[in-house]
Amino acid sequence: MTQLFSFLIKPQQYLDPGSGSLIVQIVLGVILGAGVAVRVFWKQIKNFFTGKKATDADFDPTEIDPDEIIDIPEEQKNK
């Protein structure tokens, strides 16, 4: 089994991803591609008509808030 997954198993890959979970991703890759395109398109149509601003559902916690005062530790400032 290890040889088959050798391309996946590197020192830092310690999780067992589960064969079933990997198969599902391949299957979903097909299904979701269509779904996401439709959803994005539909949202663009809705926003065009309603002039809606970004809602809570669109909130991305990894978005940097330009107004917030950021405190970065000394060592990282020069990187």
Partner: protein, 459 residues
């Protein structure tokens, strides 16, 4: 000296250790390339700037308990308290899930992937979730599927779906399953209508069936490589984000008056109690406060409003969620609402019962508040007063406790349908029991009621 953290052993990239009371993380040589990419790509900068990831500083290599493997030692921002997923209300859990997925998506933009998606990678800091596993990032390799997808579904999607669609109390399953709720169990417990929900039908039901089907099958390299494009990964993450965002547990914002009116409080006596509590908190001047049975945090805020880091524990998920809703709305930084049944608090679980700690191991706090609580333990749960005292004494140095006497409407209600087997449940018996563990510093009446507030210090 340096002492490895017992919960940190699964990932060969590195581990957490403690030295002089502070936490450090060792980055092993085996992880060097990925760590360097994490920094040089700018992903670390971006995530720490966005307050999505815990920031760190580099430390001396000779701190390490196993220096032969070490590439770097980093010192993360020290957190005030460690909480676990089974102690979060639904919205805290949902925010943790959204953060994890957002980080996974952002990482892809920088050419990296998240190699695990454990709910234990999230902690709460200044009121909001933060990702703490700095070594969870590795270089993205074109064509490979997301290794952490299964873990995400078990740690996040399954518990959230069960809480939203079946019963809020199913959060407790996270205590039983150290690596998240098995998908076949989640599929069995979810209502059949969830099979019609695209997100749940795929990521839970189909996923569970696929796991069972391929459990013993070997997959050849050819079958897996090149099948998942980067766009497909984005689609997968977006799909998970959509389904997570669609799961909701309504927050019922009750008026404080609903609760307090049932307990003979008028608005002025409520204000008087707030002043009383605030006065005692100022007197103790604690660095940390734990409010036991804090409900929606009304009196916990007597401490957090003074910028004292306060944890407000309550048994009712609705109350904790209300409290969290206020924390988010007001952008509060000193309040952490958490779920806890004090008559059956979080156990020590995991390997050797040492991966996740009991409450007292995560303390002590400087001040414990126990307002309108004692009767729930001593009367409703038959816990002898001195055992309550002993238990509280293990949690913190100072205690602010409200004695609720038998004349109080709450206790009358508790005793209405049972035998009064509590001859010592009165002010004298209370003082005597608690004096075994505490010195009573002050005693004041709570106006508008028969209750008494005590300030005590551990002996």
């Amino acid at each position: 000296m340096a002492e490895k953290v017992s919960a940190s052993f699964r990932d060969p990239s590195g581990f957490m250790f403690k030295r002089d009371g502070e936490f450090y993380r060792q980055v092993n040589q085996s992880y060097k390339a990925d760590y360097d990419l994490f920094i040089s790509s700018g992903l670390y900068q971006h995530l720490s700037k966005a307050k999505a990831l815990i920031p760190h500083q580099e430390a001396e290599l000779d701190f390490s308990p196993s220096p032969d493997k070490a590439y770097k030692i980093i010192k993360p921002l020290q957190l005030g308290f460690i909480s676990y997923p089974y102690e979060w209300c639904f919205n805290q859990y949902k925010d943790a899930a959204i953060l994890t997925l957002s980080i996974a998506r952002r990482a892809l933009e920088y050419g990296m992937v998240l190699k695990d998606a454990s709910a234990y990678n999230i902690q709460f800091h200044e009121g909001r979730p933060i990702f703490i596993d700095t070594l969870s990032f590795e270089a993205y390799k074109e064509g490979l599927p997301w290794v952490a997808y299964k873990q995400f579904c078990q740690h996040f999607l399954a518990p959230l779906a069960l809480m939203a669609k079946t019963d809020i109390r199913l959060l407790g399953l996270m205590r039983n399953y150290i690596d998240g709720i098995p998908l076949d169990l989640a599929a069995a417990l979810l209502p059949k209508s969830t099979k019609l929900n695209l997100g749940l039908a795929t990521h839970i039901h189909l996923h569970a069936r696929s796991q069972q089907k391929y459990a013993n099958q070997k997959l050849s390299q050819k079958e897996l490589t090149g099948k998942i494009s980067k766009q497909a990964l984005y689609n997968l993450i977006d799909s998970l984000l959509t389904v997570v965002r669609s799961l909701k547990v309504e927050t019922i914002m009750t008026e404080w008056s609903d609760y307090y009116q049932d307990n003979n409080y008028t608005e002025s006596s409520f204000e008087a109690k707030r002043d009383l509590v605030t006065g005692f908190v100022k007197q103790v001047n604690p660095q940390t406060v734990w409010d036991l049975g804090g409900n929606t945090g009304e009196f916990s805020r007597c401490a957090s409003d003074l910028e004292i880091p306060t944890i407000s524990f309550d048994i009712d998920p609705g109350a904790v969620q209300q409290n969290y809703t206020i924390v988010k709305a007001e952008k509060e930084k000193f309040m952490l609402p958490l779920l806890m049944d004090l008559t059956n608090p979080s156990p020590a679980i995991g390997w050797h019962n040492q991966e996740r700690d009991v409450l007292k191991e995560r303390g002590p706090a400087d001040l414990i508040m126990a307002l309108a609580l004692i009767h729930h333990m001593a009367i409703a749960n038959n816990v002898p007063l001195r055992d309550v005292a002993r238990s509280f004494a293990e949690l913190g140095e100072y205690l602010l406790i409200e004695f609720v006497p038998k004349q109080d409407s709450q206790v009358i209600r508790l005793l209405s349908s049972r035998l009064d087997i509590f001859p010592d449940y009165n002010p004298e018996g209370f003082k005597q029991a608690f004096s075994e563990y505490y010195i009573i510093l002050d005693e004041k009446p709570v106006t508008g009621s028969e209750r008494m507030m005590f300030l005590m210090k551990k002996k």
